[in-house]
C-alpha cells in the first residue's frame, strides 16, 4: 500500500508543480479563442521580440557550438596548463546567477568598463543594443556543448583518430570524417540545450537590454513587459509560444538521450 501512496503522492506533487500550471497557461491563452492570440503574436512589438530572440540565438548558438567542440576537443585531447581552472571557467556560467552574469557584461561594456571605454571613444554602441545581449547569451549558454562533448570524446579514445591518421588522413580530415561523426549526437544534444537557454534567457539579457518595446525586447522580456503592462493576452500568447518551443526541445532531449547511450555502447563494444 505504501508504494501506491508514494506513487500517487509523487504524481500529485508533480502535477501541482508542473503539469497543471503549464496546462493552465494554455487554457488562459486560448480562453477567448484563437484569433486574439494570433493578433497578439502578429503585433509589431511581438514580431520584433520574436525576431530579436531568433537573431540572438542565430548568432550565439553557432558560436557556442563551434567553440564548444573546439574547447571540448582541447580539454579531452590536449594537456591543459591548469585543467581545473579551465574546467572551473567553463562551468562558471552554471554556478553564477544570470543577473550577476548580466552585471559582469554590463560592467565590462559599460561606459566606464575596460572594453566599454574604448567602444565609447570610438562611438561603437554595444551596451543596451542587441550586441550586448548576444554577448550575455553566449556567456550564459557556453557550458552546454563542452560538457556534452568531453565525456564522449574521452570514452571513444584516440584509436579511431590514429587509425585514420595511419590510413593517410590529415588531422582535419580525421576530425571531420571520424571524430565529428562519432560525437555527433553529443553535439546535437548540447546544441539543443544551448538553443533552449539562448531563447529562454531572461535575467542576463534584461540587465544589458534597452528594454524598449519593439526594439530591445526578446520574447522572455516581452512576456515580463506585457504582464507589467496588464496585457495578459499578449503575455500568455508569447509565454505559450516559448512553452511550446521548450516542449519541442524536451521531446528532442528525450529521444536523443536514448540515442546518446546507444552510441556509447557501440563505441565500447
Amino acid at each position: 500500500m505504501g508504494r501506491y501512496a508514494l506513487r500517487y503522492g509523487v504524481l500529485a506533487y508533480l502535477s501541482m508543480l508542473l503539469v497543471v500550471p503549464v496546462g493552465m497557461i494554455a487554457y488562459r491563452t486560448f480562453q477567448h479563442g484563437v484569433s486574439p492570440v494570433w493578433d497578439a503574436l502578429s503585433s509589431d512589438s511581438a514580431t520584433s521580440a520574436i525576431k530579436l530572440s531568433l537573431l540572438i540565438a542565430a548568432i550565439a548558438v553557432p558560436i557556442n557550438v563551434v567553440f564548444g567542440i573546439a574547447t571540448g576537443w582541447l580539454l579531452a585531447r590536449r594537456k591543459m596548463p591548469v585543467p581545473w581552472l579551465v574546467n572551473a571557467i567553463i562551468n562558471l556560467p552554471f554556478a553564477m546567477s544570470p543577473v550577476i552574469i548580466g552585471l559582469a557584461v554590463f560592467q565590462l561594456y559599460g561606459r566606464t568598463g575596460w572594453i566599454g571605454q574604448y567602444l565609447f571613444d570610438h562611438q561603437i554602441p554595444v551596451l543596451f543594443t542587441w550586441k550586448a545581449m548576444v554577448i550575455a547569451t553566449v556567456f550564459i549558454s557556453l557550458p552546454f556543448v563542452v560538457r556534452e562533448v568531453v565525456p564522449v570524446l574521452e570514452e571513444i579514445g584516440t584509436d579511431q583518430e590514429q587509425a585514420a591518421e595511419v590510413l593517410g588522413a590529415t588531422a582535419l580530415q580525421g576530425f571531420f570524417r571520424v571524430t565529428l561523426p562519432a560525437i555527433r549526437w553529443a553535439v546535437v544534444y548540447g546544441t539543443i540545450l544551448t538553443v533552449a537557454r539562448a531563447l529562454g534567457e531572461y535575467g542576463a539579457v534584461n540587465l544589458v537590454s534597452s528594454n524598449i518595446v519593439g526594439q530591445g525586447l526578446t520574447l522572455p522580456l516581452y512576456v515580463d513587459n506585457r504582464v507589467n503592462q496588464l496585457d495578459p493576452t499578449s503575455a500568455y500568447s508569447a509565454g505559450l509560444l516559448l512553452a511550446v518551443i521548450s516542449l519541442i526541445i524536451l521531446v528532442g532531449m528525450t529521444t536523443l538521450s536514448g540515442r546518446r547511450h546507444r552510441t556509447a555502447e557501440e563505441t565500447t563494444a
Partner: protein, 322 residues
C-alpha cells in the same frame, strides 16, 4: 620494405619504455615482437608507425630516414589491438576509408574493397556496422582496412589479444597464409610465445625496454642468449647451477658420474607425458623433469624413488648467475 631502428629510446615521464633499442627487419618477412606486457614492444611498433616519436635514435624504412615523417606519409598499414573500427561507418566504408582519402577513382575503390572483403571472408557483411560484428570479424575488417591502401609495411599491435582461444588460432593460421600470399613486410606484437613461434619468420624478444635477442624461432629456442629468453620461450628448470628444459634432463635409477642424486617428490600425469618433481639430496632447489609415460614405466618411478639426474649432451643450458 626493410626497417631499421637505431638506438631508439623513449620515456613516458620516469618510465623508460625503450632504452637504446636497435633492430633490423628484412623485407618481406613476418616478424614477431615478443615480450611481457609493459616491456616496450607496443611502443616500438608505434614508433615505427609514426604514432609515437622517439626521444632519440632514428627509424629507417628502406634505408630512408623517416624519424620525422608523419604517420600518414609512411605508407603503412596498422591494426590496433581493440580494432579501432570507425563505429559510424559500415564495414564497406571502413575498408574504403583509406582509398577515399587518397582520392582513388570510385570504380577502383569498389573493385579493391570487394576483393579485400572477399579475402577476409566478409563479403556478405559489407553493409553491417562494426557493432553488429563479432570480435574476430571486426579484427578481419580492421586487417582489410589496413591492407586497402596497399601498404609496404603491415604493423599489428597484439592483433588477436582480445579474442577467444579458438578464434585466435584461426586468425593466426589465416595471417600466416595471408602473408605467404601477399608477402608484405609484417611486424606483429604479441606476448604469446606460442603465437610468435608458430607463425613468425623472425622473433625479436623485448623486455624492460631492451632487446634481449633477435633471430629465427629455432635460434631463439635452441640458443637462447640469456636466462630471460630461455625462460620466456618455454618451460625451464634448474639443475645445479644451470638452467635447462625439463625434457632435456636424463633420468637414471643407477648412479652415474656427474649425475645429481635426488628423490622423487611428486608425479603428475598430463596425458601421454608425465611431469616429476625431484628433490636433490644436496638440498638444492627442486627439479622438474618431463618424461613420457613409457619412460616412467620402464624406470618404474614412484614417489620416494631415488634417481640420478643429468643432462643430455645436446641439451640447451644457460649458466645461472652467481
Amino acid at each position: 620494405m626493410s626497417i631499421q631502428c637505431q638506438n631508439v629510446s623513449k620515456s613516458f615521464g620516469d618510465f623508460h619504455a625503450l632504452q637504446d633499442v636497435t633492430v633490423e627487419i628484412d623485407s618481406g618477412q613476418l616478424t614477431a615482437v615478443l615480450g611481457p606486457s609493459g616491456g616496450g614492444k607496443s611502443t616500438l611498433l608505434r614508433i615505427i608507425a609514426g604514432l609515437e616519436t622517439a626521444d632519440s635514435g632514428t627509424v629507417l624504412i628502406e634505408g630512408q630516414d623517416v624519424t620525422h615523417v608523419l604517420a600518414r606519409d609512411r605508407g603503412i598499414g596498422f591494426v590496433f589491438q581493440h580494432y579501432a573500427a570507425f563505429t559510424h561507418m559500415t564495414v564497406w566504408e571502413n575498408v574504403a576509408f583509406g582509398l577515399k582519402i587518397q582520392k582513388t577513382p570510385k570504380e577502383k575503390i569498389r573493385g579493391r574493397v570487394n576483393d579485400l572483403l572477399n579475402l577476409v571472408h566478409l563479403d556478405g557483411l559489407a553493409k553491417r556496422y562494426p557493432s553488429e560484428l563479432s570480435g574476430g570479424q571486426r579484427q578481419r575488417m580492421a586487417l582489410a582496412r589496413a591492407l586497402a591502401v596497399e601498404p609496404g609495411l603491415l604493423l599489428l599491435d597484439e592483433p588477436f589479444g582480445a579474442l577467444d582461444v579458438k578464434v585466435r588460432q584461426e586468425l593466426r593460421d589465416w595471417l600466416r597464409r595471408l602473408h605467404d600470399e601477399v608477402h608484405t613486410t609484417t611486424i606483429f606484437v604479441t606476448h604469446d610465445q606460442e603465437e610468435a613461434m608458430e607463425i613468425a619468420d623472425q622473433i625479436i624478444v623485448i623486455n624492460a625496454g631492451r632487446v634481449e635477442q633477435a633471430g629465427t624461432p629455432d635460434t631463439l629456442y635452441d640458443r637462447p642468449a640469456n636466462q630471460f629468453v630461455m625462460g620466456f620461450l618455454g618451460p625451464v628448470t634448474q639443475l645445479g647451477d644451470r638452467m635447462v628444459r625439463p625434457h632435456d634432463i636424463r633420468v637414471s635409477t643407477q648412479p652415474e658420474a656427474g649425475a645429481q642424486e635426488a628423490v622423487v617428490d611428486r608425479l603428475t600425469s598430463l596425458g601421454f607425458e608425465t611431469r616429476i618433481v625431484a628433490r636433490p639430496t644436496n638440498n638444492g632447489s627442486p627439479v622438474t623433469v618431463q618424461l613420457t609415460r613409457n619412460q616412467i614405466n620402464e624406470l618404474n618411478l614412484q614417489v620416494g624413488s631415488r634417481v640420478y639426474l643429468s643432462t643430455y649432451p645436446t641439451a640447451q643450458q644457460v649458466s645461472m648467475p652467481a
